[in-house]
Symmetry: C2
């Protein structure tokens, strides 16, 4: 008998029928003798509809009021879920974020959870109840309602699981788990039974849109096991947990790709100290996430500087950067919105040169040009043309034999290398 936190996303609770189906799944978990807390997102497009309603009033709704408005979406879905469970004869109770003890800071629209006060949830569980919690929301010290921003409900679920010391957190979504690559791109992609937090974090960041990175990160810090699985079938899913580093450090676990990439290049910017700060500080102030930064070798005291942003941020980034570039004496600001990132992910990749070599050779064999390269401890990412990215993913998936769970490590090792 375990204490389990489950999370169901907007698609999983998108209609009355879907809510009833999820209620049956929650009830089945409880019938197995487990104690269950379920965190739910707003139904389908509710959040977008509420935003549209606010826009009928004003183009710039105040963040505090918008958060309070949006919080109603998850209140609706959590009450309906509790009703559906009661209709199945189960004792269930719906709790809003504040009732569930989700305390946050006061950064409206992207609040951070500061702590979870678990007393109410634990009391309801003690009474034998199934507890349904409204995801994506919390309350400040001043009793203002906040929303948690992107990935909010995932984060609520993990935070609640940590707060009540659950045995595990289950994230229900519309895919079967974490795959070695996007199955829509690579038909042979294989579902992973297990993956480490760090690897999942790289995959999640790079576009495996299954679970939000901040929730993965939180789970990792507290070593909370997370199972990612489908709410539409009974397949077992993928468990994200602490893994034995010895065994896994020398394996590529997955190929991630991300087409939400735009690149801005500032041409002929003077190569002197302070230039990078002058350019990137304002982007940070505008809350624009800058990714791959590449600075060319300097010629005659000027250089080209390029960086990538998400495509949504492209216009805003250009607006921010163009006056500064002019001021710095750059000749031109250009951009590409037809690029993509492809990555190999696996613990210990960076410390083993063989992986990078195999990756670059695979892309070269496909005649795919690498625009730039970035790496982390457990990842190597190449920026390439968007039109070539699916071919790149398929080729890399095959090159590292990811379709075969028992394939040997395919990086050629140098004798004596650790």
């Amino acid at each position: 008998m375990a204490l389990i936190v489950q999370k169901y996303g907007g698609t999983s609770v998108g209609s009355a029928e879907r809510i009833k189906a999820v209620a049956r799944r929650i009830a089945a978990t409880a019938d197995q003798g487990h104690r269950v807390v379920a965190v739910v997102s707003a139904m389908g497009d509710t959040t977008d509809e509420l935003i549209a309603l606010a826009r009928q009033i004003t183009d710039e709704p105040s963040e505090r009021e918008l958060d309070l408005l949006l919080s109603t979406g998850e209140i609706v879905s959590c009450t309906l879920m509790a009703m559906a469970l009661r209709a199945l004869g189960r004792d269930a109770i719906a709790l809003t974020g504040f009732q569930a003890g989700i305390r946050t800071n006061a950064t409206f629209s992207k609040a951070l959870i500061t702590r979870v006060e678990p007393e109410r949830i634990l009391r309801e569980l003690e009474r034998g109840r199934i507890v349904i919690v409204a995801g994506f929301q919390g309350i400040t010290e001043d009793l203002d309602i906040t929303t948690l921003g992107r990935g909010g409900s995932d984060t609520t679920a993990v935070a609640v699981a940590i707060g009540i010391q659950a045995d595990r957190c289950e994230i229900y979504t519309d895919v079967d788990g974490i795959f070695t690559a996007d199955p829509r791109v690579v038909p042979e992609a294989r579902k992973l039974r297990s993956i480490s937090y760090e690897e999942m974090l790289e995959l999640a960041k790079l576009g495996a849109r299954v679970m939000h990175p901040r929730a993965v990160e939180l789970a990792g810090v507290y070593h909370m096991p997370v199972v990612v699985r489908s709410s539409f079938n009974e397949n077992p899913g993928t468990i994200i947990q602490d893994e034995d580093a010895m065994e896994n450090r020398k394996k590529v676990r997955g190929i991630a790709h991300d087409t939400d990439v735009a690149r801005i290049t500032i041409v002929d910017v003077p190569d002197r100290p302070g230039i990078a700060a002058a350019l990137f500080q304002p982007l940070g102030d505008a809350a624009i996430n800058v990714d791959v930064i590449v600075q060319n070798v300097s010629h005659h005291g000027v250089t080209d500087l390029s960086f990538t942003v998400s495509r949504n941020d492209l216009r805003k980034a250009l607006r921010t950067i163009e006056p500064i570039a002019r001021e710095l004496g750059a000749t031109e600001v250009t951009y590409d919105a037809d690029l993509a990132k492809v990555s190999i992910v696996g613990a210990g990749i960076q410390t083993t040169p063989g992986y990078a070599g195999r990756m670059f050779k695979t892309l070269a064999d496909q005649n795919i040009n690498i625009i730039s390269i970035t790496t982390s401890e457990i990842r190597i990412t190449c920026l390439i043309k968007e039109s070539e990215v699916e071919r790149a993913v398929r080729a890399l998936h095959a090159a590292f034999a990811l379709e075969d769970e028992n394939a040997p490590d395919l990086a050629p090792r140098t004798v004596g290398q650790v």
Copy 2:
């Protein structure tokens, strides 16, 4: 400069355009130098839509969850109203029932306000903000969200006004104020400038659907002046307040009528002690409000007993009463659903026989049969046929010269009578 609580009902905030119009009105009040708290209902049919959503899940939604679900309707409207005010350049803040300190008992779906903790509202007013409060909702000691049932937002407004010691409470609705009779029935009906709580209570109960009786009652207990006026124009409305009894005790102030009446008659019920209790206790337990009760003179140890209920409650009342009537040996249970009540209302009416006489004669002159009569301190009510009620209202309005504010008291006084 006054401290004013305003309340806007569902029709007044029924669309984005209406919300903006109400926001301009609130802003205008603030611009006059007043401090304003506005209580809002849910937009138009929101509450019905939420109930329909719950019914898609289950026929019997749990009351606690239904209350939490319905509370979202007023959260939406109060956030939109605050946004609309900010769009007009005013500093405004939306507060849910619990943030506004509305504490209630735990009787879900018809909770009673136990107290208002005014600190947050007062703090926001201190900051120069217009405060928008979600009506119809509160929070229990266990931090569960409740709704206040019928007339909830009116009651919220009056309770907040009392809690923050406002100078007055303004109820905005879709009519111009309290009239001497329903203007749709009596074209000459005159808007009253002022009325007492007791008189308003009788009028409100009897179908002047402008302000809920429980809110009138609450205002009366705390002597909170209430202005009822239209949100669609600038007319001054009617003020409900403590009135000089000396001056008003001898005047008919209005003619009320109510067609939501059904009568049940239990034929040949034994006339012995305990019968009334046996019949009416179960109706009370079933939350059915019983109004006019008439027991005929007994013949041969049996009598006929009739009472009225609201038409909505007719079926339920019949289901409740029929088995009991059979058990008691009554020969038959009959009902009429085509009756109506017509009343004259005014302080001190009951102590002056002249009013009753004029009322009965007026109805007799119209050849309208009186089925039964009930009275209170300030009201005389006749049960008549529904088909005759509008004619009755017009005749009574004319008989007491209510179209003329300065008409003398038209009850023939007996010399020496107080």
